[in-house]
């Protein structure tokens, strides 16, 4: 039984390592920050989860901790990648596209116009 757990653990660790490697490869190969976020934060999420689960199988007394850490990764990782992407876009880093598909640009433009209009109004108020 213990030996089976050990083998299962090693299999998970190896799968995790492969996905972490592919995540790294994606960061090198993909063209811009948004695509790199895809590879760097997501392939590595599954990689890290699988690796930690493997460790849990190798050391059964750590299993509960391993599962809790996996849940924490699943909860925190999307938040950080979302924040990075949104922050980059707000700093006017345009996504690399082949067919110019960018629905968010329209929204940013409208919002920018609204903000500019409000600033103008406030300036007028201050002047008067």
């Amino acid at each position: 039984m213990e030996q089976v757990l050990t083998y299962v653990g090693y299999i998970f660790v190896v799968i995790g390592a492969i996905f972490l490697f592919l995540g790294g490869l994606g960061i090198v190969r993909l063209p811009d920050i948004y695509c790199r976020l895809q590879a760097g934060t997501k392939a590595s999420t599954l990689g890290a989860m699988s690796l930690i689960l493997g460790v849990g199988f190798l050391q059964p007394q750590w299993m509960i901790k391993a599962l809790i850490i996996i849940v924490f990764i699943a909860l925190s990782n999307p938040l950080s990648s979302h924040a990075l992407a949104r922050g980059s876009y707000r700093h006017k880093i345009r996504p690399w596209t082949k067919e110019d598909i960018d629905a968010y640009a329209q929204y940013i433009k409208e919002q920018g116009e609204n903000e500019a209009a409000e600033e103008d109004k406030q300036q007028e108020k201050q002047e008067s």
Partner: protein
């Protein structure tokens, strides 16, 4: 939040405290008295700071049907995540790099703030797509390999497998 009313503040506080305390017990995996007391105090402090955002419904959210659908959701989500991971791995190792990135939008039918957060995080965690921004009920999604741009079809492609189950849990 619209479909069910908020629980009262003490109930939400108690709920948060219990959840934090259970997580502490699971994490330390011991019932030694000093550990348990420390956990109770830490959970109390955490709950005092975060109960207002941590839970809206309190104990009313715990129902057998909710637990069942949450379980279905997690299994469904894990399956989609593994599938999507293989998809991105395939793209990365293909020499010609077959990608067509872009930012698309769609509108969600969800009204609950927690449900929207879960949907946004699920979309982010499945590789190939991530949420750039959520404005009211419009989602802006960066997609590594865009196949459709029409919001209706994007919705069907990306959000429907998650939303079908989320609607059952939160409404």
């Amino acid at each position: 939040m619209q479909s069910k009313s908020l629980a009262s503040k003490p109930v939400r506080f108690l709920y948060s405290w219990i959840v934090f305390f259970i997580v502490w017990l699971a994490f330390t995996s011991t019932l030694a008295l000093p550990e348990v007391i420390t956990g109770a105090v830490v959970a109390l402090i955490l709950a005092a700071f975060s109960y207002e955002t941590f839970t809206g419904w309190g104990f009313k959210g715990i129902k057998l049907s909710n637990l069942w659908w949450s379980f279905v959701y997690v299994i469904n989500f894990l399956w989609l995540m593994v599938k999507a991971n293989f998809n991105v791995a395939r793209i990365v190792v293909t020499p010609s790099l077959p990608i067509n990135p872009g930012i698309v939008e769609f509108e969600t039918k969800l009204t609950n703030e927690y449900a929207k957060m879960v949907l946004a995080n699920s979309i982010t965690l499945t590789p190939g797509t991530f949420t750039v921004d959520v404005v009211d009920n419009r989602y802006y999604i960066h997609w590594l390999d865009v196949t459709v741009t029409d919001p209706e079809e994007v919705y069907k492609e990306i959000a429907e497998p998650f939303e079908r189950i989320l609607l059952k849990i939160f409404n």
